[in-house]
């Protein structure tokens, strides 16, 4: 803290280390702690604090009092401004905190909703995946059954074809033998032989097919 007086002279000693005496007398600085000034009869060495005050500047002088009051006022005003600034800043911070809290509450509410939706969605996903797995298993079983049925169908149709060929051959063979029988009944041996020759291939096929 400086005064207007010290502004025009060497810098004052740190506050608390200087003690003024009534009547403008200067108290001696503490031994070992304060450098010696001009009042000690010598010039202060470079780096030493001079601590000189202007002539006629006493604490109790009207000019000094004004300066002190002015300093106090400035100090008070600065302090007030600082306090006002700090309080305003704190209030703004608190308002910001409240807004953040409000936002936080909103976000957390939304978070809870989202969490619920996520939970529902997870359950739904699990259910759908379960249904998909079941459908996949069912499809696998059905596909296997279908494959088996188709294999059986192919075998049976092949069997039917072979049986159809056998029936056709047997029918042809039977027709020929029956014709031969009718011709033999009328003593037409040549006709009977012709009839039998005509169906011999079919009869061989039929005989092979029925074993």
């Amino acid at each position: 803290m400086t005064t207007p007086e010290t502004d025009r002279a060497d810098p004052p000693p740190p506050e608390g280390l200087e003690s003024a005496t009534p009547g403008g007398q200067k108290a001696a600085p503490p031994v070992g702690r304060r450098p010696l000034g001009r009042r000690a009869g010598r010039r202060p060495a470079p780096g030493e604090w001079s601590g000189a005050r202007g002539v006629g500047t006493g604490a109790d002088s009207p000019r000094s009092g004004r300066w002190r009051r002015l300093g106090a006022i400035v100090l008070a005003a600065g302090s007030a401004a600082a306090v006002a600034f700090l309080i305003t800043s704190g209030i703004q911070a608190r308002q910001q905190t409240r807004r953040s809290d409000t936002t936080l509450a909103t976000v957390r509410a939304e978070e809870r909703v989202t969490l619920h939706q996520l939970s529902v969605t997870d359950a739904r996903l699990a259910a759908v995946r379960g249904e998909s797995d079941a459908a996949r298993r069912t499809l696998g079983v059905l596909t296997a059954e279908l494959s088996g049925e188709r294999a059986q169908l192919a075998r049976q149709q092949s069997n039917l074809y072979v049986q159809g060929v056998s029936i056709s051959a047997l029918d042809t063979c039977l027709g020929g033998v029956e014709a031969a029988l009718n011709e033999v009944g009328l003593n037409d041996q040549a006709g009977a032989v012709t009839s039998l020759n005509g169906v011999s291939a079919s009869c061989r096929t039929a005989g092979a097919s029925v074993g």
Partner: protein, 444 residues
């Protein structure tokens, strides 16, 4: 003293003021710092929460996309499963049908094989000169061969060659006779239910001296008292034309004996006589109906002439013409007459067209009496080819033991038309509506 106190007070005031200022400043700083710390903390929490929320929303969006994908996958799988199930059902149905077809084909194969074995055995026996063996083989193969040819559903009752049939009821046992075949000069089969028929053998094992073997046709039998008289045509050995004779037996299955030296009807000038059929008139008089073949420009003609009470000799002034071909479907041929009294009216069934073809059919005429004349009430055949009946002919009407009217006829089978294929035996019931006979759908 006072001055020192004043200075002390001033110093105290200054100290107090400075302290107050320091306290106020400290409080303000503390307030501000606390507020800022609180704000910083709150901001941090807000940012953290917002970040967390954004993360959760991102996760949620991802999960929802996963749900959508899983739903699509599930629906696709289900659709595939449904489609596969439908295919499976169709395949199972087809397999069932094929199994059924295979089963019936298996039965058909087995039946065909049995029939073929029987016919082959009959052929072998006959070729070896064993008629009884052939008859036995044919009889054993009758059921499977009947099944092969379509069964009795449409009236087919005997699946072997049985042309020009006639049926006689003797006390509830039915005897059917037919043109010569592997079974002999005159085939005879018997049944008690009109459904199951068994071969008996040859009802006419010996032909008369004037007849040539191999052409003994269209036999029919009449019971006259305790005697059974068979009428048939046979080839006249010296001319080759057909003539009509009779043979007698004491039982319907024969053997019938013909010891005649000459036929009883033989119209050599008309191309020969065939298809004899007896008819007993309302007054008990026996008549014989037949066909003259016709030569050159002569038309085939159906005739009638009375017989003596024994039924063995024609009597009277001569034969009376009954019918000649006059309708297009007849193709210039009428034959195989069979006269019968129905609802007090004399009806004449006959066959028209070529016996070897599918147009062969049965006609109907109404007569004023046993000796005619007869008229044709229909412009078309009474019964023509239909279903498994192809070229029906050789009608023989008879009454069963329950009074029902039946018509027996021979027919080719589909795709087996013309000799040496067989003309198999059918039976159909006749109904009478307004005095007119009609072919019923029912069969034995």
């Amino acid at each position: 003293m006072a001055d020192r106190r004043a200075r002390r007070r001033r110093r105290l005031r200054r100290t107090a003021a400075v302290g107050l200022v320091a306290v106020v400043m400290g409080g303000a700083v503390a307030f501000d710092v606390a507020a800022r710390v609180s704000m910083t903390h709150a901001e941090s929490q807000r940012r953290t929460a917002q970040y967390t929320h954004r993360t959760m929303v991102g996760v949620l969006v991802g999960r929802r996309a996963a749900v959508a994908w899983a739903t699509i996958t599930r629906d696709t799988l289900r659709s595939s499963a449904i489609s596969t199930n439908q295919e499976l059902t169709a395949a199972a149905s087809q397999l069932s049908q094929d199994n059924s077809s295979a089963f019936y084909q298996g039965l058909d194969l087995e039946t065909l094989h049995s029939c073929l074995n029987g016919v082959t055995a009959a052929y072998t026996q006959l070729a070896g000169g064993s008629l009884p063996g052939a008859i036995s083989a044919i009889t054993s193969a009758s059921a499977p061969c009947l099944s092969v040819e379509g069964g009795a559903g449409a009236g087919l009752v005997y699946p072997f060659d049985f042309p020009d049939p006639s049926v006689l009821d003797v006390g509830g046992t039915y005897y059917a006779y037919a043109t010569n075949s592997a079974a002999g000069n005159v085939q005879i089969i018997t049944s008690t239910d009109l459904v199951h028929w068994s071969a008996v053998g040859d009802a006419l094992p010996h032909l008369p001296a004037w007849a040539a073997a191999g052409a003994t046709w269209a036999p029919s039998v009449l019971q006259v008292g305790g005697t059974f008289v068979m009428y048939f045509s046979a080839g006249y050995a010296t001319s080759g034309e057909q003539c009509i004779s009779e043979a007698v037996a004491t039982q319907p299955e024969g053997p019938f004996i013909d010891s005649s030296m000459f036929p009883i009807v033989c119209q050599l000038g008309l191309g020969g006589s065939i298809d004899p059929s007896p008819y007993v008139g309302p007054d008990g008089t026996i008549y014989l109906d037949w066909k003259s073949e016709g030569e050159g420009a002569q038309l085939p003609t159906l005739w009638a002439q009375p017989l003596d009470p024994t039924g063995t000799q024609v009597v009277g002034a001569g034969p009376s013409p009954l019918l000649q071909p006059s309708q297009s479907w007849e193709q210039g041929v009428v034959e195989a007459p069979d006269m019968v009294s129905i609802a007090g009216q004399t009806d004449l069934f006959y066959a028209g067209a070529s016996w070897q073809g599918t147009n062969y059919a049965i006609g109907l005429a109404t007569c004023t009496g046993p000796l005619g004349p007869c008229a044709k009430p229909l412009a078309q055949p009474f019964f023509a080819s239909q279903g498994n009946v192809v070229g029906p002919g050789g009608p023989s009407v008879f009454t069963d033991s329950q009074g029902r009217l039946w018509i027996a006829f021979a027919s080719w089978l589909p795709d087996q038309v013309g000799f040496p294929h067989s003309r198999v035996l059918f039976l159909r019931q006749l109904t009478v509506v307004d005095g007119m006979p009609h072919m019923a759908a029912s069969s034995p």
